[in-house]
């Protein structure tokens, strides 16, 4: 199986696991879902990364991860504000 297809399958399975557990807990939190997705993506990128070459799909995934990190920063800032305003 090609690396990128494998990556898609793994991330889909990971998201399904997260969703199932959230459904079991009757508590669907979008922020937690996002952070767990980002962690999964980081692990996958780290494992499938190549040493010398950078295929376009890896470049796009890394741009997505960078955008995810920015969004994660936004979530952290929002939480800090929530705590401060409490």
């Amino acid at each position: 199986m090609k690396k990128k297809i494998l990556a898609v399958v793994v991330i889909a399975v990971w998201l399904m696991i997260i969703s199932i557990f959230m459904l079991l807990a009757y508590r669907f939190d979008l922020e937690i879902f996002f952070v767990l997705w980002l962690i999964g993506l980081l692990v996958i990128v780290e494992l499938m990364d190549t040493r010398f070459s950078l295929p376009p799909y890896m470049r796009y995934i890394k741009y997505t991860v960078a955008a995810g990190i920015l969004l994660f920063g936004g979530i952290v800032a929002g939480k800090v504000m929530e705590i401060v305003y409490k």
């Binding site: 494992l47 070459s53 950078l54 470049r59 990190i69 920015l70 952290v76 401060v84």
Partner: protein, 601 residues
Amino acid sequence: MNVNFRYVVLAILTISILLEVALFVPSPLLYSLEKDNFSSPFHDNVEVLQLQSLNSTTDIVPRIQDVIDGTGPVTLDIRIHDLDQAQRDLDEFEKSQGSLSNLIVHLDMNESEIQAIEKNTAVQKQILDSLLNTSVSLDSLQMMEIQYRDQNNTDMLTTVRLQGNELRKRVNGLNERYRNATANIVATGTKFGLDMTKNQKSQADVDQIVQEIEQPKASTFIPVNTSLIPGEDRVSLFLRPDTGKYRDVIEYMGISLALNGNTTLRSENIPIILYIDDQPESTILTDTFGYYDTRIPVGEISEGSHTVYTRSPTSRSVNRTLTIIPVDSVTNLTLSEPDRNGDVNCTGFVMANLPVRSASIQLTWDQSHVIVTKTGVTGEFMQQVQLPPGRHTVIAAFSGDGYPINASESDPQVVDIPVARGPAPDYGYLWLIISIIGIVLLFVVAAAFYLRRMARKRIPLPANPVDTDFPEDRDSFLIQAGSSGPYGKSQAGGARESGGDSLVAYYAWMLDEHGLNAASRWVYEQLAVRIARDFRIKRYKALTAREISRNCRGKPYCGPFARLISAYERIRYSGQPSEHDQTVFETALHSTDDLMGGEEH
């Protein structure tokens, strides 16, 4: 990071997550005690509910006993005609019944016995309420009866008597309902081992009260002539009470009658207009028995006596007098700290016996400027006033015009408006903004670092051109350099003499030994390495000769190199390289090598 090490870390993480999940799944934490409020009305924190349900029914038995005992004093008070005390006891009963109801709702919805007690005590409370109201009304009617008898007012005596009968009809059946409710409570209470004496005693009292109401003792009512003149309609009116203060509720009631032949007809569903001082105040419809009844609180009406009467479409009642007693008021004023613009919030309230609603308040500052505002439904007012720099005195005044309330004025309030109003920075807010910007920046840097790391693969920069194929004996190589083409032996020797131009010399040797194709390839590879080093192109091996040439910009050798690449492509890929191509290639090679600085590059 070593790949094996990565897999070990990942395996450890996965195993630990699965272990945690395995511990969590048998008893998932659906709700925490810290979060017991949910936005959805269909959510209840079961953890909290379970905790509350730990209170067993025996814990609330004393409360149930209090509620059940509450009926005794109420019925007794009604019976002995201590209506004020009855009202107080009934309020107390209602309060404990409400708290019991709340407790039961939170405790457990499935406790049917407790539900039965709650339901039956509610019925008892409702009946006691009715009995108390009826007793009060009958008392009032009795007083009015005496009053009208003294005045020999036959119309009103008839009205009062009919109203009394109406009240008695309403009481009918209360006794039976109370008996059923009491029987249910006694049955359930006995199950819990409660003392039901007081509750059972209340049943006897209620029996007696209802009996007295339904079958009054021999009335001292003097028969009066209540006949009407045929064709004449009558409308009666009486007020209860006929004196009041601000926001006291006055009840206006009466009956509309008409005589048709020998029958007295009740005028059903006809509009009755209530006039106060000849001004229409309200319109009321009579009920099926010809009665009308309305309650109007004393509001914006002046103090003193007022004439009140009602009109039906065909008749008018006699005049009644409503006396409004004035009350004193208190006006309060509070000033906030001035802001940077000199704005001051003036807040306060006007209170008489109750808060004064919609009253005009005059805010006067420095006895020269007046601003008018109004109170709200709670009697409170708020007005923002912009004041110039300096010291100011502000007073709030309520004139009482149009109200049965005496005028009042607040204490003077002094406020200082500073001349220089510099901006007062909110450091807490400032720090928060800085922190948020810092956090966002931190993550921006993290994202940038991540992207930069992506571009910084561990690819070694191209090293100096390796001439591993170069013969060990350089001199012999130069001597052996081929003689065909423009770069023959003589050129090779010339090169040696001129300082050892190895690229050109080696090209000459390659040309002799392996032909133009291989020599041009070798030259291209050597130059490509140099250019990749100059322009920091890491994957130069993955690029074509033309792409390398395109990447070469801004250096003096880039022009000759482009020509060299053009000739190189023709030599390598045209199939039949011409002498001209070779000449162009060698000229360009020479120029490029010269401009690059030869081996020193």
